[in-house]
Symmetry: C2
Subunit: 252 residues, 2 copies
């Protein structure tokens, strides 16, 4: 059984710790956090440490900390030659020559307190050699059926794509919510539409799923919508995304 | 049992005809289309007509045509004093004084060939008097458990909100897809993230669900993403939506 140490106390670390704790194939031997974590952050029975010197031996050290903290963690590890992977979309593979560098990047949005089924979540891996890749594959494979080897450049692309498909999409939900509440309508009224919009692209290409006034070049509706919006930033977003939809329709 | 005539041959007309055809409480007596519809567009057994003079008597005439065709249809109806509802988000309630005006606006995205369960879809209704509202409520209620009375101004707001939550969201999926395919990655890798992003706001407020570099004001990641994007329009969208997320974070 592979032995694993997780380093980090945030959302990603907590979700991964929970998932590995439940895994039959990997033994989560320790979780290292800078300070004592809040009660309930990690599964009961997991060895929680705050001292690098107490770090146990393991097949993989998974560094799930914010990008700007990765270097400090790597420099503080009290050993050499072991396999150390971070979970970042943007950071480079090798962060410190003392250990073997790797990446273990789960492509998902982790929210405090919201459980996620990791079994279908893409886990993107990278390592310096084939033996390490195979080890990562086995460990990631204990959580997900969807483990993919990708390059650093592809990982960067995915990270940017995820900002569009998650961060920006969620912000559009927020703007939709704002328009509703400013007009005395509950956000709930938009939920079946949000659900179906996501559903549609599970089965068809987003280009084929596109509908609406921008797609059909319906300038009277577009102008009526711009008139309706009183907020300048929202007008700007409306115009820019309408323009971008029209650019893409013309390209088809 | 209420009698219904549907006027229109497009997606909305086809989806509504299918749903009413299966309804036990409403009798779909006719569908009027301008020209002979393609085979399979409407359920077998429905009386399809192309001649206004052959239009049957009904409790409700549902005009599911594009916004700029509504006036022509209303002017062509060969009767007076009956209840005529359109399905448009933006058009005014009364379109022609000869009949009783109403609105029957289902808030959903209808795609050719993709079946939709209407039972949870909000159907927004409006009419000139209470008796008509109650009639609309009964008829809409035969399809959906989610029938709401809203004003014309609220309907306009919903139509704009739906552009953000559906049309623009779908376009962001398309941009995410483009980034993936340009980097040799299948769109499928984004699907669990898209699914979870929509899922999250079923349970929590979009403001609470927001994550990412814009939210945490991580300018080094934001700059790395802007460097990565080579397309000017995508850079523009990235900057504007990042700015808008930051505006809203500051307001919280």
């Amino acid at each position: 059984m592979q032995k694993l140490v997780i380093i980090g106390g945030g959302n990603v670390a907590q979700h991964l710790a929970q998932a590995f704790h439940e895994s039959a194939d990997v033994k989560l031997v320790q979780v290292f956090t800078r300070s004592q974590p809040a009660k309930g952050s990690f599964p009961i029975g997991v060895d929680l440490i705050q001292d690098y010197e107490k770090m146990a031996e393991a097949d993989l050290y998974l560094v799930a900390v914010s990008d700007n903290a990765i270097s400090d963690v790597y420099a503080s590890l009290p050993f050499e030659g072991r396999l150390v992977a971070h979970t970042s979309g943007m950071s480079s593979l090798v962060r410190n020559g003392r250990n073997r560098g790797a990446v273990f990047y789960p492509l998902q949005t982790f929210t405090k307190g919201k459980e996620i089924d990791l079994s279908n979540i893409p886990i993107c891996i990278e390592a310096e050699d084939n033996a390490d890749l195979q080890l990562l594959e086995r460990i990631a494979g204990s959580l997900s059926q969807h483990v993919v080897r990708i390059t650093s450049e592809q990982r960067k692309a995915l990270h940017v794509a995820a900002v569009f498909a998650n961060n920006f999409v969620n912000h559009l939900y927020l703007l939709g919510n704002r328009i509703c509440t400013e007009n005395g309508l509950p956000f709930g009224i938009l939920k079946p539409l949000i659900d179906e919009t996501a559903n549609k692209v599970m089965q068809m290409n987003p280009a084929d799923a596109q509908t609406g006034p921008a797609k059909r070049n319906d300038s009277s509706t577009i102008n009526a919508h711009l008139d309706f919006l009183s907020d300048d930033r929202m007008k700007e977003i409306y115009s820019l995304l309408t323009q971008s939809i029209q650019d893409h329709v013309q390209k088809l």
